[in-house]
Amino acid sequence: MNHALRGKAACVGVALTGMGEAPGRSAIDLMANAVLDALEDAGIPLADVDGVFAANAVHAMASMSLSEHLGIVPVISDNSNIGGSSFMQHALLAATALEAGLINVAVIAYGSTQRSAGGFRAVSEPLPYETQFKPRNPITSYALAASHYLDRFGVTREQMAQVPVAARAWANLNPQAFMYDKGPLTIEDVVAARMISDPLGKLDCCLVTDGGAAIVMTRADRAKDTRHSPVHLLGAGVAHNHRMISAMPDFAVTSAAISGARAYEMAGLTAADMDSVQLYDAFSINTLLFLEDLGFCEKGEAVRFIANGHIAPGGGLPVNTNGGGLSCVHPGMYGLFVMIEAISQIRATLDGAPQPRDEGGWVPDTKIALAHGNGGVLSAQVTTIWCAPETV
């Protein structure tokens, strides 16, 4: 039996703005511009927007600030913040509100100028049982998880380095990626990079960039009249077990195992059905954990799964095809960019390349794509599955 929300809502507009560096602009500038660009992309007037979803690290009430800036009086205004995966949950909430008939046009937006503003800006309050030991979060928590994972499965830093190497190879095909023209990476480059928090070196860590993004979602019936082919939300699942890394039940298994199962169930699909896989790679360890937890390979097997360029351009499974948080863009909360890459790969199949990419950057025949978000310290996991209309 089909889930009530399966395929009922669709993304009909997307926008990226201020990718990399956006000096002289603010987070609200980027969010508002991204929303207007995404509406233009959809062919829907601003006045039709009645659902506003937004989160970032600078606006405590982002959907209120964004609505004020654009003069929207929303029916649903939501800032729910579970870190970088907030936007995947926004998509699920938007689909719910659309299907219930509460709203007709939802926008989901993000903007950050952390790079131009001087560096990474944590969204976290001090954690009461951890702050005393001076973790430099989020990296300390990811490093702890990585140390446990490497020890438990006998994985080396060299093997894990395949992740940033593959991400860079994708970025080298994407002119919008921050590292597009910075050349390829080798395993040796990654391992030799300055150590930040063992076992994570500088090239195991995501970029610190600026960037804004937005998508527009409507019910599938309305999506027939929009400018581009709609990309349907086929399934979505949310799960989290912990806020502090010390409360993570098993450092080698994330809640993506749960969020993924929920999303697959709603979609009626499995990992084997995915043509393209976008995973929130804040750190190299993320990609390994998520490939396993989302069912692409067995636990502890990810480095063997990705060997010989399996997730790199030309490999068997296209993963993080924009270059990822490691080599494309990472303005602090990267989830919306992950989702837009999944949607864009499908749109490239349906409508032709939405943006210029070098040969191979758009993966032919992508019709079903997974976009997985991660928030906090391997905490909030949200899996979304998007598809071409014919799959619904």
């Binding site: 009461p128 049982y129 951890e130 005393q132 030991f133 001076k134 973790p135 140390s147 446990h148 928090s197």
Partner: protein, 126 residues
Amino acid sequence: MTELGPEAQYRAFLAEGRFMIQKSRGSGAYVFYPRVAEPVTGARDLEWVAPSGAGTVYATTINRQRPEKGGDYNIAMIELEEGPRIMSKVTGMAPEEVKVGLRVAAYVGELDGAPAVLFQKAEDAA
């Protein structure tokens, strides 16, 4: 006298030099960090108990820092013999020597003037 909440009570014990964790009377399961109820069951039957202090390094990292800023330091995740995990650091050895699986023992020491649960190599504790 006002009854303290779990976090305040934990810190009050710590100020007395005692490391205390919680245990559910019903399930017998140990709980750390201190909470108002046992997670999952919601049972508000937690009592304070002294853990054995024995634990194992479950995960470890070295926060790399320039010497003029204080140099590299260890942050470790310790799995207590009773089950729960606690963030701390292993003292008395170089951060590079702290390995996953190392047997450690808790003691109440001081970090930046505040009492802290710290760990040292188990064989050094005896």
